[in-house]
């Protein structure tokens, strides 16, 4: 028992812990899976990726609301409570070198890495807030908010140039994936889904396999992003953009586009023959 403000938390310990556990999976975990899957579509080329991104951004003005309500706030809740939980325990893998104890400790370490990673990751690409003032005066001067949804692949690839960012993303993805996979396993115990030893072992294997699968997805997205040819991608994206604006499938929003010092590009290559289903 450390701080006095822990009182509210301790009193509603159970509810908070269960909410924490729940938010880990729904929506945060689920979002992460979708996110990594979407990103991995970059393997099919910038067009496929752009199509997916467009789909997301077809939410238009609703998007920030959705982002905050269903992703950022739950994530922040999960993270804040996560830090509180971490502080309530004391890891002891030096004394008790059991596999599951390592997992416990790693769950905590990867949580901390996830906080840092996600904070910078969102800042780096998204910028956290959409307001022009924020973006102009804070995010961009710091070299952040690099992602342009209507130039998805190219801006992503640009942002990941060099070797520090890729390493950063690599570590972040590995940690988040472990955290989710192991988290689903512990969640099954927390909620009482798998109770017997055998069931717990079985679930552990399933989570492990799932985790490896997700890791492959996540890393392939990363490698696709790194290996994307920026110029080529931009051409594809710009062409798609024109097309979609013309058909009225997306709202013209220059802010979500890449603005180079000298704007050029016209080549018209079709990426994927997809129909968008925005409202």
């Amino acid at each position: 028992m450390n701080a006095t403000n822990a009182n509210f938390l301790t009193r509603h310990d159970f509810l908070i812990r269960r909410l924490h556990s729940l938010t880990g999976l729904v929506p945060v975990g689920c979002y992460m899976v979708v996110h990594l899957l979407v990103n991995s579509s970059l393997m099919n080329g910038p067009g496929a990726f752009q199509t997916n991104v467009n789909q997301i951004h077809s939410l238009g003005r609703a998007l920030p609301l959705v982002e905050w309500l269903f992703i950022f706030l739950p994530l922040i809740f999960h993270a804040v409570i996560g830090v509180w939980i971490i502080r309530s325990g004391k890891t002891n893998t030096d004394q008790y070198r059991y596999l599951n104890n390592w997992r416990y400790t790693l769950q905590r370490w990867t949580g901390v890495v996830a906080i840092i990673f996600i904070f910078f990751h969102v800042f780096h690409l998204h910028g956290w807030f959409h307001g022009e003032w924020w973006l102009e005066n804070v995010a961009r001067p710091w070299g952040m908010a690099n992602f342009k949804p209507y130039n998805a692949a190219s801006t992503l690839a640009t942002a990941l140039q060099g070797f520090l960012w890729p390493i950063f993303y690599f570590v972040g993805i590995v940690c988040c994936v472990f955290h989710l996979a192991n988290g689903i396993w512990t969640m099954g115990i927390t909620w009482g889904v798998w109770t017997s030893d055998r069931a717990q072992k079985g679930a552990s294997i399933v989570c492990c396999i799932g985790g490896i699968g997700l890791l492959i997805v996540g890393l392939s997205a990363l490698s696709a992003a790194i290996t994307t040819d920026v110029q080529q991608a931009r051409n594809v994206e710009d062409a798609m953009y024109k097309l979609r604006v013309d058909t009225g499938e997306i709202v013209d929003n220059p802010e979500k586009r890449y603005h180079a010092p000298e704007s050029l590009g016209d080549s018209t290559e079709e990426a994927s023959p997809d129909e968008d289903v925005s409202e």
């Binding site: 028992m1 009193r11 159970f14 309530s88 325990g89 004394q95 104890n101 416990y104 927390t190 017997s196």
Partner: protein, 287 residues
């Protein structure tokens, strides 16, 4: 009757002396300090017999006269739970900690420390009242009407007995909570002028803020699965979902790895988790 014993033939060379390093503390709130002792090696020794020799020598390896090391023990066969301590960094019963095996782990020295999650009374003796208090809180008993002759108890299947029996072997030794990263030490110091009752009361209240720990969770599960015990299952669930309840478990599963009785604690924890889920849902919809 039986002379000093004779064990299985052992191949490795045995030492003549055993070095023991002990973390001592003269009383609650006092500083702790290391002390080194040496005893003659005998066959089939366990930590209890080492401590007995140390008590009878009452002298450190440097030849300094010291008070005997205080420790707790009882059955000497790992059923009473008294003799728990941290030996070579791992919590276990000192009566079943055989010197030969410890020397295999760490050849030059044996290190003894008191449990770190409980207030030290003296040396290797700690105060585990918190565990017993927790048993009270989770009402770890069968609420029978009385002790008159009312015929046999409820009939149980063999399968149910076999599921419950291991849980009922818990000897409140505290290994599980000592190794648990989520169970943290609570030490309540007496305030000047406080009466025994006030002090006890304050201790109880403070303990009630902490994690109940694997042993108590498992006991609650045991009694919830007994037909008569289940009559107060909701009261137990209220505690298990209250402050310091089952939700505080972080699934490190050290508890089950160190439990000397090999009690399937993580299964109990998961069962408690399931019951807590249902209990919480029921409370939401019943109100």
């Amino acid at each position: 009757m039986s002379s000093p014993t004779h064990a299985e033939p052992v191949v490795h060379a045995r030492p003549h002396k055993i070095n023991v390093r002990i973390l001592r503390q003269d009383g609650p709130g006092q500083p702790s300090y290391w002390e080194r002792h040496q005893v003659d090696y005998e066959e089939n020794m366990n930590i209890i017999s080492v401590l007995q020799r140390i008590a009878s020598q009452a002298m450190t390896v440097e030849g300094k006269k010291v008070t005997p090391v205080a420790w707790d023990c009882g059955c000497l066969e790992e059923v009473c739970g008294a003799c728990t301590m941290v030996i070579n960094g791992r919590v276990r019963q000192s009566c079943s900690a055989l010197v030969d095996r410890l020397l295999k782990e760490h050849a030059t020295e044996i290190e003894l420390r008191p449990m770190s999650k409980f207030p030290v009374i003296r040396d290797l003796m700690v105060d585990r009242k918190r565990m017993f208090e927790t048993l009270k809180r989770v009402e770890a008993w069968v609420p029978v009407d009385g002790y008159d002759d009312m015929g046999p108890g409820p009939k149980l299947s063999r399968a149910q007995q076999e599921e419950n029996y291991p849980l009922s072997e818990c000897m409140t030794c505290g290994c599980c909570v000592e190794a648990c990263p989520q169970y943290t030490k609570i030490e309540v110091h007496r305030r000047p002028g406080e009466t025994d009752d006030q002090y006890d009361q304050r201790k109880r209240e403070t303990y009630a803020q902490g994690f109940v720990g694997a042993a108590a969770i498992s006991q609650a599960v045991l009694f919830n699965s007994h037909p008569t015990g289940a009559n107060i299952a909701n009261e137990r669930m209220a505690v298990l979902t209250g402050t310091g309840g089952v939700q505080d478990c972080g699934n490190a599963q050290n508890c089950v790895a160190v439990c000397p009785k090999k009690i399937p604690l993580t299964r109990s924890i998961a069962r408690a988790g399931r019951a807590a889920t249902l209990y919480a849902l029921k409370r939401i919809f019943d109100h």
